[in-house]
């Protein structure tokens, strides 16, 4: 079983950088990991600390643990005077500096790079001055000192300016556990189309409305290459099964390699099936006959291995086909580009009574037509489209405000409950019902 608390050799991890950049790495002992301008470090240096630990890079690929990646931003400002003479910057605490910001940019004089009294030569000198692990912070302090107009900047431009400088000079990183949420976050940053622009909040909605719990039997379409599958397996913690429908002959769960789950566990939980096998269960079943013992005995080693591979394949396919024929899935979860009104007629009969469906799309219109389809179909009760959007705040007491920019796109989740509507004999309460009720009461009286 993989370790979810301690930075462990040969596991994948998420590296966070001061620039808000991220990197997925595999922690092979004795290797050097290069973080570009942030420096390089030896894997052994970080092993054994808890996930989440932040580090500063020292010389010779060494590191030292530090409190947090952006430590200086989260220091409380209490007991620190905020009264400073204009133009004099000696403060090291960025939070405090931010609190000094002018309310507008009335006094900013744009004199270009002259503002910055520190030449790039000076910066290089500082950088090379060697051992001090604080070198990044020193440079930033110096730059601010040299930046005559700094306090004249608006809050927004100060924030941007400092972020930029921090991102450039802090030789820091932190090592997070690479869970499904983190893998999603990574791809949202690196390759957002791959994960259909899905955010953590949408993934949370999807799984809550799908009522995911350990031991469930779920029907999944995951076209992200395995990010959703990984997050789902994580929620289930090894218990239960996932029938994963894919549109090519063979499944593409390539990103599952980031999960560090054993092949045994993946095999046990994940049952891939392609659409043809899913729809034409009988025709696609493999009619497997064991060879007699003595024939197997006499096979050449390679032939024997091939025989067992084929046998396992047949068993796997027949097993997943049986699961599908049996139906009664505990939820249907979809993150896909397929046209849902064409998909759902195959899916709905397979979903158990009173079990949810949860369908993600980054486009509301796609779910809109799906909801109209379901309203007519009636097998899904109260289909609704939900949207969650998280607004992030700069979290510094005295300077709380929403961050200045955020992603424009956010996704949608359509959910509802599988029901068995009666074909006839149902009268809704509404217009005309009082007549019926009166008639009924009268019959009862007579």
């Amino acid at each position: 079983m993989k370790n979810t608390s301690i930075i462990t050799p040969n596991q994948h991890a998420l590296i966070r950088l001061p620039s808000e950049g991220m990197k997925v790495v595999e922690l092979k002992p004795d290797q050097i990991i290069n973080l570009g301008k942030f420096g390089s470090f030896k894997v052994n240096e970080i092993l054994g600390y808890s996930y989440g630990q932040a580090f500063e890079i020292l010389d010779d690929y060494m590191v030292r643990p530090i409190k947090s990646l952006m430590e200086d931003q989260v220091q409380p400002m209490e007991n620190e005077s905020t009264q400073e003479e204009e133009g004099q910057f000696t403060r090291k605490d960025i939070a405090t500096i931010l609190s000094e910001s002018s309310e507008n940019n009335q006094f900013i004089i744009d004199v270009g790079s002259q503002i910055q009294k520190l030449s790039s030569d000076d910066i290089d000198k500082l950088k090379n001055s060697g051992v001090s692990s604080d070198v990044g912070q020193q440079i930033i302090d110096k730059i601010i000192e040299g930046h005559a107009g700094f306090d004249k900047k608006t809050l927004f431009s100060q924030q941007k300016y400092l972020k930029r400088k921090q991102a450039k000079f802090f030789r820091r990183f932190s090592v997070d556990y690479l869970g499904g949420s983190q893998l999603l976050e990574y791809f949202l940053e690196k390759d957002n189309q791959r994960v259909f622009d899905m955010t953590t909040e949408s993934l949370g909605l999807l799984f809550s409305y799908a009522n995911v719990k350990p031991g469930g039997k779920y029907l999944l379409i995951d076209e992200t290459g395995g990010v959703i599958l990984y997050a789902l397996m994580e929620r289930m913690n090894g218990e239960g099964s996932i029938v994963s429908i894919h549109e090519n002959e063979h499944p593409n769960h390539i990103l599952l390699r980031n999960s560090d789950y054993t092949d045994e566990m993946i095999d046990r939980m994940v049952k891939p099936i392609n659409w043809l096998q899913f729809v034409e269960t009988n025709a696609e079943k493999i009619n497997w006959k064991d060879e007699p013992e003595d024939v197997i005995e006499n096979m050449k080693a390679t032939r024997k291995a091939q025989y067992y591979r084929q046998k396992k394949r047949a068993q796997d396919i027949n097993h997943v086909i049986d699961l599908v024929s049996e139906g009664n899935f505990d939820a249907f979860i979809s993150v896909s580009k397929l046209h849902m009104p064409s998909v759902l007629p195959y899916i709905l009969p397979k979903v158990g009574g009173s079990r949810p469906i949860a369908i993600y799309s980054e486009y509301k219109e796609r779910l809109l037509e799906t909801q109209h389809f379901l309203s007519v179909d009636r097998r899904i009760l109260a289909p609704s489209i939900y949207e969650s959007k998280v607004r992030h705040y700069q979290t510094i007491p005295g300077r709380m405000h929403p961050v200045m920019s955020s992603r424009g796109l956010d996704g949608y989740v359509l959910t509802g409950t599988r029901v068995y509507p009666k074909q006839e004999g149902i009268t809704a309460v509404g217009r005309g019902i009082s007549k019926k009720r009166r008639a009924q009461d009268e019959t009862e009286k007579s």
């Binding site: 989260v74 809550s208 031991g215 009173s354 969650s388 409950t417 029901v419």
Partner: protein, 365 residues
């Protein structure tokens, strides 16, 4: 155990959610000879026994219907009896996902309140995980405890009557199956109480010391957030970030397609009919309302039966004066989304932070 297992057939003693409509979901305990009486019909429990979860059931007097649904924390959240403000799914689902709460997680929650979030936590952490819930208001504690037992949450949930701000979280007689590292050793903490900053100093004693522990403090006011952030910083929590979740529910609707050329045509029609005089008008009044009539489009010469209705009012392309069902096939529609009429613009601020084991706790591998 309704929250941690799935069931197909309703048995006597089951908890069933009787779905009347979106705003009326009634939790019932299926009991022999009892009747569920609602404005929307009467439903005999005896008849429910043996029916499938998800089945539609007609009222015993020939009118009304309900759907018989199985419990889920999300349906419970919209049907539970409110004892306090509650956490809704938009917030709870994000908190669970962001704090990586999964099967096997150990979670602390205070206060329990109406138990809305408790059900979602309990479901998600499963039997491998544990939920430690605290409530200082005695009647509320008693109700929640009984409810948790009733719903089978007690298998993984331990509720304690305690003022956590004053007396902290430590428990002295934890039942053996709930113990880890001779205590609570929580992986994740959720505080939904008026002064989380008073509870924060007590957390170190119950947070796991061998892994990064996440916290979310849920407070409606900015002043509370500021105090919370300060307390988190002072108590060694890092990566403090406050966020807000905006949740929306959209409805699929149909909006009639109104072509301005039809408007013009209708005006022309009115004019023409006025000119033609009363005689013709009377004639058209005599024909049946709602009857479709083929008519040629004067511009294109195309027949457009959909928009042309002899309603006694001449050319009536948008069904003026008629009761028209959304999506009526006689008209042309566009699919649109409408938003629910009342949206929650603010529930609470969510302040996240993490407690990291000290670097000295590094283990050699």
């Amino acid at each position: 155990m309704p929250f941690n297992s799935y069931k197909d057939i309703i048995e006597e003693g089951d908890l069933v959610l009787a779905y009347i409509n979106r705003n009326h979901i009634k939790p019932i305990r299926v009991t022999k000879d009892e009747i569920l009486n609602t404005r929307y019909g009467c439903f005999e429990h005896n008849e429910m026994i043996g029916m499938s979860y998800g089945e539609q059931m007609g009222g015993s007097r020939g009118y009304g219907y309900i759907y018989l649904l199985a419990f889920t924390p999300e349906l419970w959240t919209v049907s539970l009896p409110h004892r306090t403000q509650i956490v809704y799914t938009h917030d709870s689902s994000y908190i669970i996902q962001r704090l990586n709460i999964v099967s096997g997680s150990r979670v602390i929650e205070a206060g329990t309140g109406s138990g809305s979030f408790s059900h979602a936590f309990s479901r998600t952490v499963g039997l491998e995980g544990k939920l430690f819930s605290y409530e200082f208001h005695e009647p509320r504690f008693i109700e929640a405890k009984a409810e948790f037992e009733d719903h089978g949450l007690d298998k993984n949930t331990l509720i304690t009557h305690r003022d956590v701000c004053k007396d902290g979280f430590e428990l002295h007689d934890i039942p053996q199956p709930f113990v880890k590292d001779s205590g609570i050793a929580a992986d994740a903490i959720f505080l939904d109480l008026p002064s989380p900053w008073e509870a924060i100093p007590h957390l170190k004693a119950v947070a796991s010391s061998t892994r990064r522990v996440g916290i979310c403090c849920f407070s409606p006011c900015m002043e509370q957030v500021v105090k919370t952030v300060t307390a988190l910083n002072e108590n060694g929590w890092v990566d403090v970030e406050m966020v807000e979740v905006a949740g929306r529910r959209w409805e699929a609707r149909k909006e009639m397609l109104k072509d301005v050329n039809d408007v013009i045509k209708r005006l022309k029609d009115i004019q023409a009919r006025r000119n033609q005089g009363l005689e013709l008008l009377k004639q058209s009044r005599a024909s049946t309302p709602g009857e479709k009539r083929e008519a040629s489009n004067p511009e294109s010469g195309e027949a457009n039966p959909v928009k042309v209705q002899n309603t006694g009012m001449g050319f009536n392309p948008f069904g003026r004066g008629l009761r028209i069902k959304e999506g009526d096939e006689k008209f042309e529609w566009r699919d649109v989304t409408g938003i629910e009429p009342d949206i929650k613009t603010h529930t609470s601020y969510l302040t996240f932070a993490y407690l990291q084991p000290p670097p000295s706790a590094r283990v050699s591998l």
